[in-house]
């Protein structure tokens, strides 16, 4: 007899969601988290997109520690001198919320408390060292040389899954599958935020930026989200180009973003409260490991259910939905008293029809395009010079837009054939 039906390793959104689901259905669950308190190791931008929590916490929009709902969404290119942005505001988001800003220490504590209230045993401040294996199947976990047994282990370790890596269940992260996330949190005060971002009540601002002003060929995306009385600002740095450059410090890129003339003003007068950094999972569909096996399942970032490419940053939502599906699979497996790979393959079946996998499939290969000279250099340069020529009053007769574009294109260093091709690829994958 195992001590637990299921042990969940890691109390991020994926692990806690799985634990809530299983414990509320009566499974005997142990949730182990190395941070104490829960959440103290974790970093997100972060906007929690979607409504995935509703399945396990029906009143989550009222009870969870949410900062502001997204009313204003900005997608923007930042060059050295300019910002070219799409600024989308809609009152429609008021009725149907698309996303909320969150701070991880608060969100994760809340979710873990829910897991505990649902009946799971939640233990914090303990690092799981390894999986316990017997006859080719997972039979529990190991901490400080002692084994705790379970019929099934769910690995929810996030983007740096040491236990799953050591057991060979996932590959070692590499320059292509991870980016470096760096973040600042500023205290600004509720009123200042409302005024500065033109918001009211608990409406919020979510901005995502392509940092095309960076020199030396380094690619990075930026984000800026409003919380109740703080602002989260950060960058995701592409590891491949940082290495190629070989002469730029990751922390300087964060500082450069914070100092950009059109960004620094947004947090002016704010006090820096926290500096943080964390892996961002960036692998594509082709990098995803098999999410189940004899006596185990992988969820959240560990299973590759995260989406980041310097323009889009999502992962908490997929973490939650994959956690819930793994929970469902465990509940069904428990009924059959069978946690073999064959039985747990039901998890994969559930995943195959879920947005977590479908999005990943649909966006296959998009990273190659998004982390590309076109998006990070050519488009911003083109837009900047076209808009500048169009809007700048020269006193000369206005040119046709097409003429301006052609001229700008020449100065952007890309030929029109390349642009068409990459543009086509991008469109096809968006």
């Amino acid at each position: 007899m195992s001590e637990f039906d299921v042990i969940v390793v890691g109390a991020g959104p994926a692990g806690s969601s799985a634990a809530i689901k299983m414990a509320s259905q009566g499974l005997n669950v142990l949730l182990v988290e190395r941070g104490d308190p829960v959440g103290s190791k974790n970093v997100s931008g972060g906007i929690l997109w979607g409504n995935d929590l509703a399945a396990i916490i029906p009143d989550w929009e009222k009870s969870a520690p949410l900062e502001r709902y997204v009313e204003r969404k900005v997608t923007s290119f930042l060059t050295g001198d300019s910002e070219i942005a799409i600024d989308f505001k809609t009152k429609k988001f008021q009725e149907k919320k698309t996303g909320y800003s969150v701070l991880r220490t608060r969100l994760d504590s809340f979710l873990a408390r829910k897991a505990s209230q649902s009946g799971a045993m939640v233990i914090t401040g303990v690092t799981v060292d390894a999986l316990a294996m017997k006859d080719g199947r997972v039979v529990g976990i190991i901490n400080e040389g002692e084994t705790i047994t379970a019929d099934c282990v769910i690995l929810a370790e996030g983007a740096n899954p040491r236990v799953a890596m050591a057991a060979g269940l996932v590959g070692k992260p590499n320059d292509r599958t991870v980016g470096i996330g760096v973040k600042h949190v500023y205290k600004l005060g509720e009123n200042v935020i409302n005024e500065r971002f033109n918001l009211r009540g608990n409406a919020g601002f979510a901005g995502e930026y392509v940092l095309s002003f960076l020199e030396g060929g380094v690619y990075a995306g930026g984000f800026l989200y409003t919380n109740k009385d703080t602002v989260s600002m950060g960058v995701v740095i592409n590891m491949e180009t940082l290495r190629k450059n070989g002469n730029t410090h990751s922390f300087d890129i964060m500082e450069k973003f914070a100092q950009h003339p059109f960004i620094s003003g947004l947090v002016e007068g704010g006090q820096l409260q926290e500096y943080s950094a964390h892996f961002v999972y960036e692998g594509g569909y082709e990098d995803m490991p098999r999410a189940y096996g004899n006596g185990y399942m992988l969820v959240g970032d560990t299973a590759g259910f995260s989406f980041s490419n310097g323009m889009i940053l999502q992962g908490m939502n997929y973490a939650i939905s994959s956690g819930i599906l793994a929970g469902e699979a465990a509940i069904e497996a428990k009924k059959d008293n069978d946690f073999s790979a064959e039985s747990l393959s039901r998890y994969q079946k559930k995943l195959d029809n879920s947005p977590a996998v479908l999005d990943k499939k649909n966006f296959q290969g998009i990273n190659n395009v998004v982390w590309s000279p076109m998006v990070h250099r050519a488009i911003p340069a083109l837009l900047e010079s076209s808009l500048y020529s169009m809007l700048y009053e020269t006193g000369n007769p206005k040119k046709h837009l097409s003429q301006i574009m052609m001229k700008s294109l020449k100065s952007s260093g890309m030929n029109s054939k390349d642009l068409m091709l990459q543009g086509y690829r991008l469109m096809r994958r968006m």
């Binding site: 190395r34 941070g35 104490d36 959440g39 103290s40 190791k41 974790n42 970093v43 997100s44 701070l103 991880r104 220490t105 994760d108 914090t124 401040g125 303990v126 690092t127 400080e144 983007a159 740096n160 040491r162 070692k172 992260p173 590499n174 320059d175 991870v178 470096i180 996330g181 760096v182 600042h184 949190v185 703080t230 989260s232 590891m239 940082l242 290495r243 070989g246 002469n247 730029t248 410090h249 990751s250 922390f251 964060m254 500082e255 820096l272 409260q273 926290e274 500096y275 943080s276 950094a277 964390h278 892996f279």
Partner: protein
């Protein structure tokens, strides 16, 4: 703001007994790129008179150096027993 000032804002519970990341100085000696010094967001790796100096106390456990070091010098593990970085916001 300097990175040192930013790190000074952080709350750590440092483990006096266990260094969760170690490097192999022999390997670093012949390293051609010292990419760890550029990649680590917490400036734990610095080059002092041509030698790599590593301090685990400032580490925020992001995982970067394990991938950044292409020469197999970094031995990376999680801290034990609630030690290490403690974020207030995250």
């Amino acid at each position: 703001m300097e990175i040192e000032e930013k790190l000074a804002l952080l709350n750590y519970k440092t483990d006096p007994e266990y260094e969760h990341i170690t490097i192999n100085p022999k390997i670093c000696e012949t390293c051609p790129d010292h990419f760890c010094t550029f990649a680590c967001p917490a400036k734990c790796y610095t080059l002092i008179e041509g030698r790599i100096n590593f301090k685990y106390e400032d580490c925020v456990e992001c995982g970067t150096c394990d991938v950044a070091c292409a020469h197999g010098s970094v031995m990376w593990t999680n801290p034990k027993d609630s030690h290490g970085i403690k974020y207030k916001f995250g």
